[in-house]
């Protein structure tokens, strides 16, 4: 079964198409970083992975999407696209946290040393970051605790208080590199681990589709982690 995966929760637009029969092996992938032009880039990227892989949209068995946390506007482009496509095709959706997708690539761990924890960090603006903790277990990582939003200082103080070796990854680490550099017993992952991995998304979705761990399109909701009340802008509609 073919699976289309997309994540637009950070400044990257990522799209991949994979085959669940092949354990979610990626047939084609597009990664566009840094532009924040999600609405412009996502549809052409989807067309591109279809052309590249020779898979037509009506051959898809499921759509997988990163639901954040991340940039609200970017996030909504991916979630809306995934929901509406799945609804029109009559297929289910596998949703995954964008933090999971930063922590998931197997190569992330191969690169590190003897880390006990992986902590993906996504820039949340206003000097805050989204993050979660993942314990390194045989064969991968397992999340411990909730997805959170908070100040960079609080996250660093929290990690500093522990005694475990930490592998950091994500655009929040890049943005606050100097602060994170002061954290003991930590290492920063390379730039290839800055954004949610859509290859990991397709792979993870292949397993979930197998176990029928999917939802219907109308049950896919963005993970904002911030109340919209906090976002009140008394802007005039035009």
């Amino acid at each position: 079964m073919f699976i289309l995966g997309m994540d637009t929760a950070t400044s990257q637009v990522g799209v991949a198409i994979g085959d669940s029969a092949d354990g979610g092996g990626v047939l084609a992938e597009v990664l566009i970083a840094g532009d924040r032009r999600h609405a412009e880039q996502l549809a052409p990227a989807i067309q591109h992975v279809c052309d590249e892989s020779g898979v037509r949209l009506d051959q898809l068995g499921a759509i997988a999407v990163g639901i954040g946390p991340g940039l609200f506007t970017g996030l909504r482009v991916g979630v809306t696209t995934a929901k509406v496509m799945a609804q029109a095709l009559g297929i289910p959706v596998v949703s995954a946290s964008s933090l999971d997708l930063i922590a998931a690539p197997p190569a992330l761990l191969e690169e590190g040393h003897a880390h006990a924890l992986v902590v993906p960090v996504i820039d949340a603006r206003r000097r805050e970051v989204f993050s979660a903790r993942y314990r390194v277990v045989p064969g991968g990582v397992q999340r411990e605790g909730d997805y959170t939003v908070g100040s960079v200082e609080d996250l660093i103080a929290d990690l500093q208080a522990g005694s475990e070796h930490v592998l950091l990854a994500g655009d929040g680490v890049t943005r606050y590199r100097e602060q994170f550099a002061g954290l003991d017993r930590s290492e920063m992952a390379g730039p290839e681990f800055e954004y949610p991995s859509v290859a990991a998304l397709v792979q993870l979705a292949a397993g979930r589709v197998e176990r029928e761990e999917f939802v219907q399109p109308w049950d896919v909701h963005p993970m904002y982690l911030r109340e919209s009340d906090a976002e009140l802008h008394w802007e005039t509609p035009r």
């Binding site: 996502l42 929901k83 802007e235």
Partner: protein
């Protein structure tokens, strides 16, 4: 098979809407899911709340529009969405949804100018209108007069330099403690008041452009001087000052363009006093007045589909890498 029908999506402000329209004139379905209750406690539209609601409502609204019309995606000619002007985050939801459908059904996508669409609302009801038309588009977000010379051929001849007319209604209603949205509340209250009781200023006389911020200030000042005066008189006099300005600029534009038909669009076009006055002035100046029903004046997706129909013929499809433009104007 339904011949030549377009599915359109509208999410520029606080209505999540989808519609199927055949031949740019025949409404097969028009679904509008209003978020007004979500925003009422804030006294205005909160962009982030609107954007979040659009994501939740868009799927069901599209399904209802297709279901009500009795069509399948593959029966359609194109998929359209409002691409501006409007709230950026809100527009992105509708445009993303439309592109997703266009990809799945392998149909052309058409990005539509919301202001052009308000002008086209009239065509839905009256496809035989004779251009040039003088169109007043007045709502909570925009206030402008457009001369509609022909399909895909419109120009703005006047617009507000500060607040939109509907915004003035909302602000004054809030000041008078009436609630939100202000337009219908003031309209109702004004029926019990005297429109000549208070001489509020008529801004920018002789100019093509509108201004409403001074009027709001005048209402506040008047209330300070006369806190016990009848509030129905304040409402009626305020409304009259707004309507005078709207009608004045519309007629002025019609005179200059030689337009023999006056058309209304936008939420403020549902105001009963404005409708009566436009009908009156048309009669007095030997013109026709076309006042679309209120549900076509307020934001809806049928008008987006109608506009897309004509734009598809004049300009062809919009590329899938086109984005949104929150401050798009009519050019």
């Amino acid at each position: 098979m339904v011949a030549e029908a377009i599915l359109a999506i509208e999410t520029s402000c606080d209505e999540t809407a989808a519609a199927v329209v055949a031949h740019g004139t025949e409404i097969l379905s028009s679904v509008v899911s209003s978020q007004v209750d979500l925003h009422a406690r804030f006294g205005g539209v909160v962009p982030e709340i609107a954007s979040r609601a659009h994501v939740e409502l868009i799927g069901p609204v599209i399904a209802d529009a297709l279901g009500d019309a009795g069509v399948e995606l593959r029966d359609l000619t194109a998929i359209a969405a409002t691409s501006g002007p409007g709230l950026a985050g809100a527009l992105l939801v509708g445009v993303s949804a439309a592109k997703a459908l266009a990809l799945v059904a392998d149909l052309p996508y058409v990005g539509v100018n919301h202001l052009e669409a308000h002008c086209y609302a009239a065509w839905l009801e009256q496809p035989n209108l004779e251009p040039p038309l003088a169109v007043l588009v007045a709502s909570g977000g925009h206030t402008l007069v457009v001369i509609f010379e022909g399909h895909a051929n419109m120009r703005v001849v006047g617009q507000t330099v500060d607040d939109a007319a509907g915004e003035a209604f909302d602000k004054v209603a809030r000041h008078l403690g009436l609630g939100y949205p202000g337009g219908p509340l003031i309209d109702r209250l004004a029926r019990d008041g005297d429109p000549a009781a208070i001489a509020f200023p008529r801004a920018m006389p002789g100019e093509p452009d509108f201004s409403f911020s001074g009027l709001k200030t005048a209402v506040v000042q008047h209330r300070r001087r006369d806190p016990d005066g009848a509030i129905a008189d304040v409402a009626a006099s305020f409304q009259e000052a707004v309507v005078d300005q709207l009608v004045d600029k519309l007629v002025r534009a019609a005179d200059e363009a030689g337009a023999s038909t006056l058309v209304l669009g936008g939420g403020v076009a549902a105001n009963s006093r404005l409708r009566a006055r436009v009908a009156e002035v048309a009669e007095a100046t030997g013109r026709a007045a076309f006042l679309p029903p209120p549900d076509l004046c307020t934001d809806n997706a049928a008008m987006i589909a109608a506009t897309a129909w004509w734009r598809l013929q004049s300009d062809g499809p919009t590329p899938l890498d086109a984005g949104v433009n929150p401050s798009l104007s009519i050019t």
